[in-house]
């Protein structure tokens, strides 16, 4: 199944979803981007350059790791991880960012802007901008700035300007709106480095293409190490880039179940979560450049979202994944904040690995399903990022007194 073999007049559509819904002022810009992307995609030397860059700069290929202790403890399937957390900057976001960076160089633009939720995409973009010598501005919801300060710190120190967005819910979607406003003003010299497989065409296709490096590596590695394909693959879904990146490697392997794990937050009910497909609170709409499922009310205004993970509390979802969900190729499940924290604790204790809160959603669902699977079956989880960045949130969730005391002391030092 070639997801990107569009029918005539339906470029950028995956079933009913996707498309390009942008103000007319960006028409030329998005057309230029589409052409530049097509040329790059058809040029084998571009992909080669991309892979070499990721090898030398980000440590690719990332390994797979067998979680022997956790598998044993759960008593079912053997659990393996794809270690995107071991990338430079600590998440899969760098794959997409380096790809777009190379494209920006080709297009001859000198300035990049990006939205960021958890801060991982902003962090990766700041890194790329520093390396390539681009001017950069990162838009981040004020709520996210408050909960992901360590990432803001690194972005600023790498020379990016970080703007705290105070409109709307002050999270990812509002940062995207600000990026669009910047882009309609500065498109001549500026590229918008969208961080997930959402937004107007060609972004979903482009981000998926760069992230497909995860799935290509993973399939080969799994066959090498285990001699078989996994029965189930779990990935968390915010916008849906790490998930589509891994899933693409297994698209033709119809026996491999693909499971997208969304933010269940406090559980079902409008405003409590960010599960667009697993719960029944979302419907089809058109916003932020694309047609897809959105958490919205009957008037088409977006609902509040909630998740313990800043990178998952997005109102919309990758239109490619929606199409695959309708075709029953991808199953969607939601995991609550409490389940996520428990899964994270269990993983740290049993394996010495700290997945990001986002990635921990995939762990939590895998932990639920592993015990009822056979011992010779295999589960693969995408560890989309590492949890170090979440130290403040995790310390709160765990209620760690030593950490609290340390922070108070530090604060007192700064006060004096």
């Amino acid at each position: 199944m070639d997801l990107f073999d569009f029918k005539d007049g339906r470029e950028g559509y995956y079933g009913e979803y996707g498309g390009t819904f942008l103000p007319e002022i960006l028409h030329t810009t998005i057309e230029e981007l589409t052409v530049a992307f097509r040329n790059a995609k058809e040029d084998p030397s571009f992909w080669q350059e991309f892979i070499q860059l990721l090898q030398s700069y980000s440590g690719r290929p990332t390994p797979i790791t067998h979680l022997e202790n956790l598998s044993e403890k759960l008593g079912g399937a053997q659990i393996y991880l794809k270690r995107e957390d071991l990338n430079h900057t600590g998440s899969h976001k760098i794959n997409n960012v380096m790809g777009q960076g190379l494209l920006v160089k080709r297009m001859g633009k000198k300035r990049v802007i990006a939205e960021t939720g958890a801060g991982q995409h902003g962090y990766a973009t700041a890194t790329m901008a520093a390396k390539f010598g681009f001017e950069s501005k990162i838009y981040m919801g004020a709520v996210d700035v408050a909960r992901q300060r360590p990432n803001v710190f690194w972005m600023e120190n790498m020379g990016s300007e970080v703007v705290a967005v105070t409109d709307g819910q002050q999270t990812l979607k509002d940062a995207i709106n600000e990026c669009l406003r910047d882009w309609v003003t500065n498109m001549d010299n500026t590229h918008y480095v969208l961080g997930t497989a959402c937004g107007p065409h060609p972004f979903p296709e482009m981000v998926s293409w760069f992230q497909s490096v995860i799935g290509r590596e993973a399939r080969e590695q799994m066959l090498d190490v285990t001699g078989q394909l996994p029965s189930k693959i779990f990935a968390c879904v915010g916008g849906g880039s790490n998930a589509i990146g891994l899933f693409q490697g297994f698209m033709e392997d119809t026996d491999v179940q693909l499971i997208g794990c969304e933010a269940g937050g406090f559980g079902p009910g409008k405003g409590n979560h960010a599960a667009r497909l697993a719960y029944k609170d979302a419907s089809v709409g058109v916003a932020q450049g694309m047609k897809t499922y959105f958490l919205q009310n009957d008037d088409g205004n977006m609902l509040e979202t909630h998740s313990v993970a800043a990178g998952l509390d997005y109102i919309g979802v990758n239109p490619i994944l929606v199409h695959l969900w309708e075709q029953e190729r991808v199953r969607f499940e939601a995991v609550t904040d409490i389940e996520v924290t428990e899964a994270l604790k269990m993983t740290m204790r049993s394996e010495g690995i700290i997945p990001a809160l986002e990635s921990s959603h995939a762990f939590a669902q895998a932990i639920k399903e592993a015990p009822s699977m056979e011992k010779d079956e295999i589960i693969l989880i995408n560890t989309s990022g590492r949890g170090d960045k979440d130290i403040f949130t995790i310390a709160d969730a765990i209620g760690d007194d030593h950490w609290k005391r340390f922070i108070s002391q530090k604060a007192a030092e700064y006060e004096s």
Partner: protein, 260 residues
Amino acid sequence: MNLNSYIEERKRALANSDRTALIMTHVVCGYPSFEDNWKELEIMAEYGVDLVELQFPFSEPSADGPLFVKANQEAIANGVNVEDCFAFMEKVSSHFPFKVIMMGYYNTVFKTGHGTFLERLKAAGGVGFILPDLPVEEAGELHQIANQLDLAPIVLMTPTNSDERLIRLAEAADGFIYTVARKGVTGSNTEMNQEVGGFIERCKTVTSLPLAVGFGVSNKYDIDFIGEHADIAVIGTAALKAWESSRESGLREFFNQLLN
């Protein structure tokens, strides 16, 4: 009377007056309140405004600048919904002499349903609609229904469009063309200069529809400039700013300097 004939009529009236351009103003439904909207509209009618855009608030107004973003958000926070906007539009269009156009984002229309939305727009006395985030490629069905209902789909032309693209846009348009004077979002001022003039002239080569010019229109010079090159001056943020600064007196003062 449909939008095309109305504009023709107003243009004839304009020729016999000392005004240089037709005027279209903008109000965000329910911001600061529907009562305030009504007072603003009374003043606009007093100054002989020809057209009014009623913006239906949307939670993601990504083509708007800070003041309208705030207006959209606060209107929604105050509970303004699509139902309220149509009810208000009906009151406005039956009371005032100017014609009313719906302005908003496509999701509002999409969620309500193309047919239902346009029928309600027609019933509320609207004569057209402006949806800045709906590209013409995606507008086929909606424009067809609009055509059947004699509602004008207003299309935007922008300085970044190629000539080829402008032709495509002209084919899809009716009523008038909304030409966007510059890059960026609504709000900040535009210097009405040769570049803007050149762009408007480029639009004229592809369409015979009347041309409205918007984004950053704020003073008498702008109006005269637009009158010279085009037909309709669009007053957006500047009027809301005037209202925010000192309500009735602020808005009257604004129109005084703008039109006299």
